[in-house]
């Protein structure tokens, strides 16, 4: 039970006598996790599965994510659904920068994670986490609507655990954490820089 957590036993005991106890952090996180507004922004085939998730059968409205906002100013969540090409990467990073601050990124589909089946393409960025931090990855090509719903619940669990104060507080409350990342420029042969070093630290693989 970390510092600032409410003792669960005490909470259930009080609840039995009709007294509900909560904390500012729980209330804040509860409010934000149940009304995440995704940015209306589809790239390729995964976007069609995202629309199918928003349609009546798999209904993302049950998780509070029904309102797809066209403008990044009103969106909290960017679902990168589809192949990120090098021509589209600067636009995606600019959209991420223009989103209001408590913002999250779901990288949907193999293409957004690592280039997927189109990895050998010359115009395909090998994964969006080279330029912006990603919160939840969904493998699959395209991932089924249930997988997107599971990612949504995963993101809600992640929001629920965010701290408001203390050392490891949420990124958007921490003045040092950057809320903006440099937009790559179009170079002669490739994007310049090919990856944002302080966002993309791949593990050092020793090739035997």
């Amino acid at each position: 039970m970390g510092e600032g957590q409410i003792d669960e036993a005490l909470r259930t005991e009080l609840q039995r006598q009709g007294v509900w106890v909560t904390s500012m952090q729980e209330l804040y996180n509860w409010g934000r996790k149940n009304s995440i507004w995704p940015l209306q922004f589809g790239l390729a085939c995964c976007a069609i599965e995202m629309i199918a998730t928003a349609a009546s059968r798999y209904d993302i409205a049950r998780f509070g994510g029904e309102i797809f906002r066209p403008s990044p100013r009103q969106a909290d969540l960017m679902i990168v659904a589809g192949t990120v090409t090098k021509k589209m990467a600067p636009q995606i990073v600019r959209l991420y920068n223009q989103m209001a601050d408590p913002k999250y990124v779901i990288s949907m589909g193999a293409c957004a994670i690592s280039g997927g089946p189109f990895k050998q393409g010359y115009n395909v960025l090998k994964g969006i986490d080279r330029y912006i931090p990603v919160d939840v990855y969904i493998p699959g090509c395209p991932p089924r609507p249930e997988a997107l719903l599971h990612a949504f619940m995963e993101l809600q669990r992640k929001i629920d655990e965010q701290k408001l104060t203390g050392a490891d507080k949420a990124a958007h409350l921490d003045p040092e954490e950057p809320s903006e990342f440099p937009v790559p420029a179009f170079g002669k042969h490739d994007l310049e820089p090919p990856a944002n070093p302080d966002v993309f630290q791949p593990p050092e693989l020793k090739r035997v």
């Binding site: 690592s114 050998q120 090998k126 179009f186 042969h189």
Partner: protein, 217 residues
């Protein structure tokens, strides 16, 4: 629909000086094509479109093809003196065909509803001389496809209304669909390498002599 030979004869009759020859297609698809020379290409195209019996008014598909320098082995009958007496002997000689870029047009007729007539145009070489006359004034559908061929193969189409890059960003310089295009090396992290992708990933990690010291490992 008439055979390609008849079309070739009538086209050469209609357009003086036009040099057309027939490129055979060996596969079972049996779709031979007409190779037309670049100077008379627009005139031939107009003829194919406006000729009452042909009426090829629908240019369905425009494709760029990159043929590298090829070395073909051919056996040629050569008279040679073998052990003192004259004899025909098959001697394999290697013939180097210089590379060229090619634009292939598949033409159909919506008026008469008959099948594909394929015409091809070849550039002089793969470097500076990669120029072809544009057929957009004849068929408007070739506009975007010729821009794509210029973008990905580098054939400059003279007479095209708006020749710009269509798929790659404007600052991009090479022509990526050519056979000798080398991709930028952004394979530094390759968790599940497989065949040639593994090769590229390995090549990325291979210690390059010159810059190895520069980059702090």
């Amino acid at each position: 629909m008439e055979s390609l030979e008849q079309i070739k004869a009538r086209a050469e009759a209609a357009i003086p000086g036009a040099k057309i020859d027939i490129v055979p297609n060996l596969g079972p698809a049996n779709q031979p094509s007409l190779l037309i020379d670049n100077e008379h290409a627009p005139a031939i195209a107009k003829f194919l479109r406006d000729d009452p019996t042909l009426r090829l008014d629908f240019c369905s598909n425009v494709t760029g093809v990159d043929w590298l320098d090829r070395v073909t082995k051919k056996t040629v009958k050569v008279k040679k003196v073998v052990e003192g007496e004259e004899k025909e002997v098959n001697e394999p000689i290697e013939e180097r065909i210089p590379g060229y870029l090619e634009a292939v047009y598949h033409l159909f007729s919506m008026a008469h509803k008959h099948g594909p007539i394929t015409i091809r145009m070849r550039t002089r070489d793969r470097g500076e001389g990669a120029r072809l006359p544009s057929l957009t004034p004849v068929w408007r559908s070739a506009e975007f496809q010729e821009r794509e061929i210029f973008d990905l193969y580098g054939i400059r189409f003279d007479g095209h209304p708006d020749l710009r890059r269509i798929l790659m960003w404007d600052e991009f310089e090479d022509h990526p669909m050519r056979k000798d295009y080398v991709q930028p090396d952004d394979f530094e992290w390759e968790p599940t390498p497989h065949d040639d992708v593994l090769a590229r990933a390995k090549q990325h990690y291979a210690p390059r002599p010159a810059e190895q010291e520069l980059r702090p490992s």
